[in-house]
């Protein structure tokens, strides 16, 4: 009972907040030139689909996110495995990777604009660069956390390096590789939408920028709503996917 009641309460709270807002604007408590009525925002939604091509913009954003995420996962997992394989390299370079992971790389977007031009490539490269360091760190930690007794068993069975990697290290570290994938897609989406908004190019982020520059308030709010909804669905799916994989593994 409690399990079903609580999420329902959450949804109910959101719905009542929306209704409260509609009422507050109606009686003039909230300035309607700052916050449009929720009904107007809802009315702007069909316009986003027919006039602003929200579907194809969505595909652009998702495409860029997956390109950056897949690239970061591939390169990051390979680099992480290399750092684990050669401890000297790990000792030398891991601090640098940690610095990059903590550094606000997206701030360098004007630099990337100069390097790659104002194109989809720039968006993908920035998202890739931001996602790579956390994936590398996550992979190294995953490999390093493999129980030593498993490796000892492998050695006593006379496994070579390749067999050890394929039969012990990889399966044992797989959950953290998936965590790395989730991180890559997460950082990918955040940076893709952010950069699209900042440089006004391409998908959903640019849509918000466009509409706000036209002072189309209901449209801006509707577009923000769409992006928030898309990313909430995206992260919920990643969350659920990872939990499903962990249960199976």
């Amino acid at each position: 009972m409690r399990q079903t009641a609580a999420p329902l309460l959450g949804i109910g709270l959101v719905v009542s907040l929306v209704l409260l807002l509609q009422w507050a604007i109606g009686v003039g408590l909230v300035d309607e030139y700052t916050v449009p009525r929720p009904s107007e925002i809802a009315a702007a939604l069909p316009r986003l689909v027919t006039e602003e091509h929200v579907a194809s913009r969505f595909m652009v954003t998702v495409g860029e996110t997956f390109a950056a995420g897949a690239l970061a996962t591939l390169v990051g997992t390979a680099l992480g495995a290399a750092l684990y394989r050669w401890p000297l390299m790990r000792r030398s370079f891991e601090p640098w990777v940690a610095v990059l992971a903590a550094a606000p790389l997206v701030l360098a977007y004007p630099l990337f604009l100069v390097l790659f031009g104002r194109s989809s490539l720039t968006v993908v490269v920035i998202a890739f660069a931001s996602a790579l360091p956390p994936v590398v760190l996550q992979t190294v930690t995953g490999f390093a956390a493999v129980r030593p007794v498993l490796l000892a068993v492998g050695r006593s069975l006379g496994m070579g390096r390749a067999a050890e990697f394929r039969r012990i290290l990889l399966p044992a570290a797989l959950p953290s590789v998936f965590t790395g994938l989730r991180l890559a897609l997460m950082f990918g989406l955040i940076n893709v939408v952010g950069v699209e908004f900042l440089i006004n190019l391409g998908g959903l982020g640019a849509l918000i920028n466009d509409l706000s520059e036209r002072y189309d308030l209901p449209g801006t709010w509707a577009a923000i709503g769409v992006v928030v909804l898309v990313s909430v669905c995206f992260f919920a799916t990643l969350d659920g996917g990872e939990r499903w994989l962990r249960r199976r593994g």
Binding site: R2, A6, R91, V106, Y109, F197, N209, V227, V232
Partner: protein, 260 residues
């Protein structure tokens, strides 16, 4: 010095130094090779000059002060709201079940898209940058505070209740001291995203602050200055990160250290 000696003994100082030298040499080789535009990948000498130019420019420090003030206000507002909400989420299983999942999913959504709306609410000046940073750091602080409160050893709570501690006493004497280390970790995460939020907002629309200087350097195609600004920002972020991390470790070790 002691830290360097410790690194020396553990055999990490030499590889780290070697790695740094290697990376710098690779950069210099790339700059001199002419494979990329010289302006985009300037040689180390030009980078150092750019960095020095930034640090010696009194105008930079004025703008840094503006950004620093916005960041501090953002952390104060977003952090206080995040801690308050986190305490509620941590203390009430029902509220957590109703809303925390949404918070977890909202936390990573790109906050910069709210900027046009925040401009409407808070104006084009520092207000909208502060709001941007506050919204950014609210979520990580909330989530780690809630997790920290839930992680408090139930034995401590039972002891406090058996001594008939009031709710406010439990909050101040049990929850806050026991949860301060993970909460500081949340503040560390919040600081990172607040810095990004404030600076990105400044690059989008402002006439002062470090983000504005970055855009100015971009518009003038002054790459060494832009690198200089970015290096200063990264060093600042890293220093604060290390400082908060250090405080969190000390807080975590505190009660045990006092017992011994």
């Amino acid at each position: 010095m002691a830290a360097a000696a410790g690194l020396m003994r553990s055999g990490t100082l030499l590889p780290r130094l070697a790695a740094s030298v290697l990376l710098l040499a690779a950069w210099q080789a790339l700059a001199l090779s002419g494979l990329l535009f010289r302006d985009v990948v300037p040689p180390l000498g030009a980078l150092a000059a750019g960095l020095w130019g930034v640090l010696a420019d009194p105008g930079f420090w004025g703008n840094a002060l503006v950004t620093g003030g916005e960041l501090a206000a953002a952390l104060a507002i977003g952090g206080a709201l995040g801690i308050a909400a986190g305490l509620v989420f941590g203390a009430s299983a029902f509220i957590a079940a109703a809303l925390e999942r949404w918070m977890t999913w909202l936390a990573p959504t790109p906050k910069i898209i709210l900027f046009p709306v925040l401009i409407l609410f808070c104006g084009v000046g520092p207000g909208s940058k502060i709001a941007m940073g506050a919204v950014s750091c609210f979520f990580p602080v909330l989530l780690s505070t809630a997790a920290a409160v839930r992680g408090v050893d139930p034995v401590l709570l039972r002891v406090a209740r058996s001594f008939r501690a009031r709710a406010d006493q439990i909050l101040v004497k049990v929850y806050l001291p026991a949860a301060v280390a993970p909460m500081l970790n949340g503040v560390r995460l919040g600081f990172g995203v607040a810095l990004i939020g404030v600076l990105l907002a400044e690059t989008k629309l402002s006439n002062q602050g470090v983000g504005f200087l970055v855009m100015q350097a971009y518009a003038r195609f002054d790459m060494p200055r832009m690198y200089g600004l970015l290096i200063v920002v990264v060093c600042f972020a890293a220093a604060i990160n290390v400082a908060i991390g250090h405080a969190a470790r000390r807080a975590a070790a505190g009660p045990i250290a006092r017992e011994n």
